[in-house]
Symmetry: C2
Subunit: 318 residues, 2 copies
């Protein structure tokens, strides 16, 4: 059992690589380092620096491989609105290229990195896999298209597959691996606190207990382990669901995150308050029962622990 | 006003080219002849033989062009199930390539050839543009993705666009242009009758007046004119709907088509009867009110006239 992790030098990919190695499974990484970092790839892991559109490099990376975790792609949902064609090229065309190479090389297992972004702004407060997708950005579309591609390719050829819809992925499972994304709450808070600035809460009039937006946060190390469970199941011939939500099943408000940040960092601050941002839903929580049943998935971190691992790793990212 | 017609050497494309010329609008054709025929391109129309993935050829074809009718693509919904990656490459990647070239060359108008295939098997008998898309084949997915690409690109750059969802396109507006597709009812009937064989009706126990499946047939010459109206509207700065159904608003049963074939050809036959094919809906009719309002769209052919133009053109296709 040897698995290729596309995007394995990225924040999530690097955790997936570590989870496979912790599980005693050999991994190979392919990553074009457009957002990943070579130093996130552990010593001893074969690393191919290439974009998935480079079919020859992908075929070579697939030598001796029995399955693929496909994480590579353009990951910034907000920016994708300004760069739709780039997003499609990197997320759709590149995945077609990967699936072509896999078919050629007879690699029949794939775990795809999907996203809660496929749901758009859900009207239901608790999102299940039966909630109808309604993506609102090229990024969200491209993730839904990736799920379609797996279903389509499995109808045409032999392919064992599943897709994991990530909710808000946070924290770090290795202080040497983190992501300074300016689009995610945890790194934004770490960044501002490090600079002696005060984080803002956008929207305090939501119909939630403390008035701030409630989302579903999952720790990246828990998330990574679900990929290993999925890979093992596929290799064992278990038929998995086409998609699984990876969410904690519980919601955490922005104010609760701020409280955790205060406790963890010891920095006493009172967050600023600003109006809601358009399109920010009041409450989105994922039902993760299917993943719990099939992928041994559970959220093992408290909010404080999640923030603490982010804060500890922040110097790496900043 | 000069428009590029991608796929302009195909059955529908060749009719679109003729409709533009009839309207006094200059056209250029790009087609890789994978299913089109060079002889369908009228004399005097500049013709570039190339696939849309050939960016340099596309950019050259766009010289002096003010808008694009984009019809090129892999068009066989049924076969797309066996060839999903090919379908995505030809219909999605190629469209991304086209939109990139258009952005580079400053071409800001596009009319996209979409399909009733985006609806899958509709649960509603009368399909409006508000009916929720639920494609069931890579082909149907790729057409819905094309609509998303237009919306996305228009949000990111200046692009004036619409998409026309074709229902069952039949007949011929020029006896020299027809299509021997083995997947469509009219050419199948023409083919069998020419060979002295008897056409079959699949499914005679549908809950319809005569028990056979009811679909919405539109004549290709009417369809082609809607493209000209859309192009003129976009050039005039009129904001069109993102999608229009091109359907007649009335349904015709398979048995009614067979009756028309008998009358038109003078061949006296009694169609065979066979079980329903899986997934064949009993009744799908499009509401074409939006297209009637904005695109001067109407169906001007009776069923007998539709079949007669197909029969007349059949020797060209066979």
């Amino acid at each position: 059992m040897t698995w290729l992790v596309t995007g394995g030098a990225g924040y999530i990919g690097a955790h997936v690589v570590r989870a496979f190695r912790d599980g005693g499974i050999d991994v190979v990484v392919i990553d074009d380092l457009s957002s990943g970092k070579a130093e996130f790839v552990p010593d001893g892991v074969p690393f191919v620096r290439a974009n998935l559109l480079d079919g020859a490099a992908v075929r070579q990376a697939l030598d001796g491989v029995t399955g693929v975790v496909h994480l590579a792609g353009f990951k910034y949902a907000g920016v994708s609105v300004e760069r739709p064609l780039h997003t499609y090229t990197q997320n759709v065309t590149a995945m077609v290229s990967l699936l072509e190479a896999m078919a050629e090389k007879g690699v029949r297992n794939i775990v795809f990195s999907s996203s809660a972004g496929v749901y758009g702004t859900p009207t239901e407060e608790v999102v299940t896999e039966a909630t109808r997708p309604a993506p609102e950005s090229p990024y969200g579309e491209s993730k839904l298209i990736g799920e379609w591609l797996l279903r389509d390719q499995a109808a045409a050829t032999e392919l064992h597959h599943t897709a994991l819809r990530y909710f808000n992925v946070v924290g770090s499972g290795d202080p040497a691996v983190y992501d300074a994304s300016p689009y995610n709450l945890f790194p934004i808070v770490c960044n501002l606190l490090t600079q002696g600035k005060v984080p803002q809460i956008y929207g305090t009039d939501h119909p939630t207990p403390d008035g701030t937006s409630v989302k579903d946060y999952v720790h990246v190390a828990d998330l990574a382990r679900a990929h290993v469970a999925a890979a093992r199941a596929l290799e064992a011939g278990t038929v998995l669901e086409p998609v699984y939500n990876l969410g904690s099943g519980t919601g955490t408000s922005v104010r609760e995150i701020m409280d955790a940040a205060r406790r963890v960092t010891g920095i006493d601050f009172t967050p600023g308050e600003a109006p809601r941002r358009p399109g920010d839903p009041s409450r989105v929580v994922a039902n993760g029962d299917l993943a719990a049943r099939d992928l041994d998935w559970k959220n093992t971190y408290t909010v404080d622990e999640m923030f603490a691992t982010a804060w500890e790793a922040w110097p790496t990212a900043s």
